[in-house]
């Protein structure tokens, strides 16, 4: 079966910013979380997927088709939320829905109205008068009202209150249960990823540092915390990053069992959380990052 989204060797340079050789695959019916610090290239990548920015090299395929050669037709199957939700600001919420809906053959006006009500959006208020959180909700309502098979969401949970954030994550989990809807969403909120993502792509300085199944990562990877002597015992272990702390040293190891066998009681060995991986992956002991 074709992937909902597939990137192969995507690269883009833009002044000092460089996106290098980004490749990953999002199978249908799954959620992929794209995570990285500010400036890592998440938004650029999302824009490349939506054909708002042209990649210098590489290929983007959506539902098995080149995303540029059949762009309009493919975009009718994509729902999107941009990092800074941009709407036709002078229109009231209700009218914006009708206007955007007129571009989609599968637009469900009733579903849009239900979502507006559910998200407690004021129907008659102009978009420019909405708060950022409300604009995100509106963008989500638009994205979810035309039966999109691929949702591309750029930091959709930023600016949302915790209650709605949780509801949104539950909704996204519910959406993929049909086996045909897929979600790519970028975020800096790792707990969101931990809650719903099936796959994780960690992007840093324009490069993919990790791409794989989230549960594999959480099951297999470990953090070793101990004194400076830990560094002398790392040989042969799949070390993916380390850093000096005030208490000693933290080392990210790809094999939790091997780390436990090696250190026993001489160091604390715990399963890594996404926070640990995000913090330590690629880090060098002096605080720098491995190139």
């Amino acid at each position: 079966m074709d992937a909902a989204l597939e990137l192969a060797g995507v690269a883009k340079s833009w002044g000092e910013f460089v996106l290098r050789d980004v490749s990953f695959r999002l199978p249908p019916g799954y959620i992929t979380g794209l995570v990285g610090p500010n400036g890592a290239g998440k938004t650029t990548l999302v824009k490349i997927v939506l054909d708002l920015v042209r990649a210098d090299t590489g290929q983007v395929r959506v539902f098995g088709q080149d995303h540029r050669s059949n762009g309009a037709s493919l975009r009718s199957r994509i729902g999107f939320v941009h990092d800074r939700p941009t709407c036709y600001e002078h229109l009231p919420v209700e009218q914006l829905g009708s206007l955007v809906g007129s571009f989609y053959a599968t637009w469900d006006e009733g579903a849009f109205r239900d979502l507006v009500r559910e998200f407690e959006l004021p129907r008659r208020r102009r978009v420019k008068a909405l708060s950022r959180g409300m604009k995100v909700k509106l963008a989500l309502a638009l994205a979810l009202s035309h039966g999109a098979e691929l949702l591309v969401l750029d930091e959709p949970t930023t600016g949302l209150d915790p209650v709605f954030r949780r509801e949104l994550l539950e909704r996204l989990s519910g959406l993929i249960s049909d086996g045909r809807t897929s979600v790519l969403f970028s975020t800096q909120i790792l707990s969101d990823l931990e809650r719903i993502a099936d796959f994780v792509v960690i992007l840093r300085q324009g490069e993919v540092q990790y791409e794989g199944v989230k549960d594999d990562l959480l099951d297999r990877w470990a953090v070793v915390r101990g004194g400076p002597e830990v560094t002398s015992e790392l040989e042969g272990l799949p070390v993916r990053g380390q850093r000096q702390t005030r208490m000693g040293i933290e080392v990210l190891v790809e094999d939790v069992d091997a780390a436990r066998r090696r250190f026993g009681e001489r160091a604390v060995v715990e399963r890594a959380t996404l926070d640990d991986v995000f913090l330590l992956l690629g880090a060098e002991r002096d605080g720098g990052r491995a190139s």
């Binding site: 824009k47 939506l50 054909d51 708002l52 920015v53 042209r54 762009g71 309009a72 037709s73 975009r75 009718s76 994509i78 999107f80 941009h82 941009t86 709407c87 036709y88 600001e89 002078h90 229109l91 009218q95 206007l99 955007v100 007129s102 571009f103 989609y104």
Partner: protein, 226 residues
């Protein structure tokens, strides 16, 4: 494409309506202030003013940063450009025609004293609108609102430079020669084609110019990043 045109008209309806009303009032006022006004001049003025009506529509998306939304919708970039051309032409033509009609109506009511054949107004208006839009579109497609402002400032500066060259450094000869050269060339064309052939030639030239402008705008817009 018509969904996009409709979208642009809905978004810009207030500005468009305001411009229409403003220029429809300005036309008869303009006529009443001038005596013996050539109909061709009225038509050219109405056409220039008419092309002002869609200006805000052409640059609106850049001004309000909504191009990212439009280009994320299931439409191609080429269709976006085509819709801008269609919307621009529809508004400019209908605006120009409405202004000429208002002036004609005012004249019938006894205002002003235009001279010449009203039938010529259509051709002059069409050619004027075509020339302005053909130059304007690639600017706005590439630079958006800034391109529009840049274009308007450029034309103002060009006028000021021409005026100053005449007043300060006695450049009347050069400016006059340039205008005279264009008029002479057009006269020569009219002489060789005959009146009907000349009109058809002008129409064909404007259409060709707009096709070139459309192709250039499309090329530009395909490469824009949002």
């Amino acid at each position: 494409m018509w969904t996009l045109v409709r979208k642009d008209l809905i978004l810009d309806r207030r500005q468009v309506a305001l411009n229409f009303v403003l220029y429809l009032v300005m036309g008869p006022v303009f006529l009443s202030l001038m005596s013996e006004t050539p109909v061709k001049l009225i038509a050219a003025w109405a056409a220039i003013v008419g092309t002002m009506i869609p200006l805000s529509l052409l640059a609106r998306e850049d001004k309000f940063h909504s191009a990212r939304l439009t280009c994320s919708l299931p439409v191609t970039r080429d269709t976006v450009v085509a819709s801008r051309f269609a919307g621009g032409w529809i508004l400019a033509l209908s605006g120009g025609l409405a202004i000429v009609a208002a002036i004609y109506g005012a004249h019938q009511a006894g205002l002003g004293n235009p001279v010449g054949e009203w039938s010529q107004a259509l051709l002059v208006g069409f050619v004027t609108i075509g020339l302005i839009l053909a130059v304007l579109f690639p600017f706005t497609m590439r630079f958006g609102f800034a391109g529009l402002i840049g274009f308007l400032v450029f034309t103002q500066v060009l006028g000021i430079v021409a005026f100053l060259s005449v007043v300060l450094v006695g450049g009347q000869g050069a400016v006059g020669a340039a205008i005279g050269g264009v008029a002479g060339a057009l006269g020569a064309l009219q002489g060789s084609f005959g009146p009907v052939g000349y009109d058809l030639f002008l129409l064909a030239a404007v259409v060709a110019l707009n096709v070139a402008s459309f192709l250039a705008s499309r090329w530009i817009y395909r490469r824009r990043e949002f």
